[in-house]
């Protein structure tokens, strides 16, 4: 049982992830854009954050940068969710300190498995 923040602007996708993770026994908070994600993250200090790369306002990568710059939040593991096939998006995410990334469309079972994995570890930002 962990506290997970899901930042996703697509309502149905967010519903789906929240449903699955709640069913898996986690406590889930949802943010509909980057700014809300930052507010909720600072307020709640979750155990894991899932960030959609493409969101209105603050994008996922910018949120990731701010999270890793915040001493209170930099240890929280982040999984990036991206619909872009570009390798550089994935690299940006991993360089910025995300522990994992999930490419849309994804399998919910796989997503749930990656969440469990990520909850067991966290990573500081690395240089590739």
């Amino acid at each position: 049982m962990a506290k997970i923040l899901v930042a996703e602007d697509e309502k149905q996708i967010a519903d789906m992830i929240v449903f699955k993770l709640t069913n898996s026994g986690h406590e889930v908070r949802r943010a509909k854009d980057g700014d809300e994600a930052m507010i909720l993250a600072r307020l709640e200090i979750p155990d894991l954050i899932m960030l959609d790369a493409m969101m209105p306002g603050l994008g996922g990568f910018e949120v990731l940068r701010q999270l890793k710059a915040d001493p209170a939040l930099r240890a929280v593991p982040v999984i990036m969710v991206t619909a872009k096939g570009h390798e550089r998006d994935v690299l940006n995410g991993l360089r910025g300190g995300a522990v994992d990334y999930v490419l849309k469309p994804f399998s919910l079972k796989e997503l749930a498995a990656r969440v469990e994995l990520a909850l067991g570890k966290d990573r500081p930002p690395i240089t590739l």
Binding site: M16, M54, V90
Partner: protein
């Protein structure tokens, strides 16, 4: 360099030809008369009965002088000098005998004269013939002597002209019935054929002198007037002398000269000398005016050519100007330190500045600050061209425009770089399109994947029972839906990968990798699928050296090969083997499926290629998988090839280089 010769390809050899012809004629006359003397043929010696005889020595002298003219015309200098000296000696010796009234015994040295003339010693040639022979000999010698004086040809020419005059005077005597003109005093007269021969000899000498002068200065000799005057004057003096019945005082007349009966000879003399002077003067004037006309003509021709060249150049310039003016591209010329010199309408349209606003200004006003000016000018100074430099320029309104610049050095005639020309082509719309394409791919992939994610996710939630219990039939149907959404996902990924490959933006993340685990991953995914279809699934993976690779991309490649193998194999087996080789790792995916024909082989790795038969049609697929696989393996510095026969299955072989930790290049691969 020949001065006299006709043997060389000398353009001024007409005079030399005339001289050679004269020489040959005189030599022939001499030979005939010698033959006449030897055969006692009176016609040859006298020509007409009662005419004076040509003496044997004269005939010999003609042979010598004629030969001398020929050798001179052939530019044989030594024989010419020798013959000239010989002729001169005969003439001079004879004159000596007349002057000193002695007999040196040369008159009959070769042949005893059998004709008694009654006017002089037997066999002695006339004084005028001796005089002519002497001058001819001197002329021949002076022709080959050639002193350093610029007008040296005038010497032989004058000698020749006097000889001509002596001959002409004698001829006039024969024609006009004035014996004193061909018989000086009452001494031995000149025979008629001697007169002809002497005239020819003089003409030959003048001709050779003329030829030499023309060879030297490429124009008619300046002394022509002098020669013409000398001929007329000498003829006049000879005629005057004949008419006045006198003899040259040195020639000691045997009979006293009769007293002149009238003043006619003196009038003739005065008129003749005046005529000679007038003739000389007019020939001189003619020459000068002809030379002037010629140089004027040459100047005119040069001027005309210059004008034509100017006109052509101006036409060229106008055509170039029209090209520059009508160009859609901006064309400008700058000095080497970057000041704008010319500015075409294309530049006005592109940058928005008028000609007056920019000429004299620094070209950097157009640069957006990102143009490596120093490097460009270094290349220009070396005479190199800068081709298709893509950069951003600023317009008058401050708008940034993408341009492709071609900057060329402009050279002066000595090849020095003096200025630079710049052609700027507007590529803003092309750049915009490129960016739109990039954005489009990103947008499309996002827009397609988001709904697909929702479809897949909710099907999964229902099928897994997260939303409540499901019946078996419902689960079967949901699985069909899930499988199709997976296919759609693969299709989208393939299209995006293809786009990346085509725009050369396919990136891979290489890291040290154990292929055994990658292949185990792939096998575990497809083992069940093969067995469900009733196919045997064989795996044989030996321990392998590490490679450097992107595991997700390599899984994509092997998954594609194995899923293809299963797809196109109705019965039998599919399999995956891996062995270590000398160079690295070799992975083989084989099947006992439908195989490929020869044509299909060739097209296998081309876009959208799919087999032709029904199995293929049922199996579905985009036809992009192998192209993508080949690109990915290529980016790993590996190779992919295939062996296949229709009905006997296919064998795809992938080779990847082994990881050499110490010898990896910046991209993580062994440098080749």
């Amino acid at each position: 360099m020949s001065r006299l010769g006709i043997t060389r390809s000398d353009p001024q050899s007409v005079a030399a030809l005339v001289a050679a012809a004269s020489g040959a004629s005189v030599a022939a006359i001499g030979s005939l008369v010698v033959a006449g003397w030897l055969t006692v043929a009176a016609t040859l010696i006298h020509v007409l009965p009662g005419f004076p005889a040509m003496q044997y020595n004269t005939a010999l002298g003609f042979m010598i002088c004629g030969a001398g003219l020929l050798t001179a015309a052939l530019d044989l200098r030594r024989p010419t000098a020798l013959l000239g000296v010989l002729a001169g000696f005969i003439g001079l010796a004879t004159l000596f005998q007349y002057v000193f009234q002695s007999d040196l015994g040369i008159d009959q040295v070769l042949l005893e004269s059998y004709i008694l003339t009654g006017v002089s010693s037997p066999g002695r040639m006339g004084p005028n013939s001796a005089f002519a022979l002497t001058l001819t000999g001197a002329g021949l010698v002076s022709l080959v002597w050639r002193p350093a004086y610029r007008h040296w040809h005038a010497g032989p020419a004058l000698l020749g002209s006097v000889v001509i005059a002596v001959g002409i005077a004698a001829l006039v005597g024969y024609v006009g019935g004035v014996p004193g003109a061909y018989g000086w005093s009452h001494l031995q007269p000149m025979a008629i054929h001697s007169a002809i021969g002497v005239t020819l000899l003089g003409g030959g000498i003048v001709g050779l002198a003329w030829n030499a002068a023309e060879a030297d200065s490429r124009e008619a000799p300046a002394w022509l007037a002098l020669v013409a005057a000398a001929v007329v004057a000498t003829v006049t003096v000879c005629l005057w002398h004949a008419l006045s019945g006198g003899a040259p005082p040195v020639l000691a007349p045997r009979v006293p000269a009769p007293v002149p009966a009238s003043t006619l000879p003196n009038v003739t003399l005065a008129t003749g000398l005046l005529t000679a002077m007038l003739l000389g003067w007019s020939v001189r004037e003619g020459q000068i005016s002809r030379r002037r006309a010629r140089s004027l003509e040459a100047a005119n021709r040069t001027l005309h050519e210059e004008i034509q060249t100017r006109i052509r150049m101006e036409q060229d310039i106008q055509q170039f100007a029209a090209l520059v003016e009508s160009s859609e591209d901006a064309i400008l010329a700058t000095t080497l330190d970057g000041r704008i010199m010319t500015w075409n309408p294309g530049a006005e349209r592109l940058y928005g500045y008028t000609r007056a606003e920019v000429v004299g200004k620094d070209v950097s006003m157009l640069h957006g600050g990102n143009h490596n000016g120093a490097e460009v000018f270094r290349q220009l100074a070396n005479g190199e061209r800068v081709s298709r430099l893509e950069t951003v320029n600023l317009t008058r309104e401050g708008r940034r425009i993408d341009v492709s610049l071609t900057i060329s050095p402009i050279l002066d005639q000595s090849g020095r770089v003096v200025s630079a020309s710049t052609i700027a082509h507007d590529i803003t719309s092309r750049k915009l399109l490129d960016r739109m394409k990039d954005d489009f791919v990103g947008t499309v992939s996002h827009e397609l994947r988001t709904p697909l994610t929702a479809i897949k996710g909710f099907i999964e939630l229902v099928a897994d029972g997260d939303a409540g219990p499901v019946t078996d039939t419902q689960r079967d149907f949901l699985e069909i839906a899930a499988r199709n959404s997976d296919k759609l996902g693969v299709l989208i990924n393939d299209l995006i990968d293809m786009n990346l490959i085509e725009s050369q933006r396919l990136e891979i993340r290489p890291e040290p990798l154990d292929l055994v685990s990658v292949l185990a991953d792939v096998a575990s995914t497809f083992r069940t699928m093969a067995r469900t279809k009733g196919l045997a699934f064989r795996e044989s993976v030996a321990p392998l050296p590490q490679v450097r690779g992107d595991s997700a991309r390599l899984i994509q490649v092997f998954s594609n090969l194995v899923s293809n193998a299963i797809k196109y194999t109705p019965k039998g087996e599919v399999g995956i083997q891996a062995v270590a080789t000398a160079a690295g790792v070799e992975v083989t995916v084989h099947d006992t499926g439908i195989g490929l024909s020869m044509e299909e082989h060739g097209q296998l790795f081309t876009r959208f290629f799919r087999g032709q038969n029904t199995v293929v049609a049922e199996a579905g697929g985009t036809g992009l998988g192998l192209v993508i696989a080949q690109a990915i393996i290529g980016r790993h510095h590996g190779k992919i090839d295939v062996e296949s026969r229709p009905g006997e299955g296919s064998r795809f072989r992938v080779t990847l280089p082994a990881l050499v930790p110490d010898a990896t290049g910046p991209d993580g691969f062994r440098s080749a």
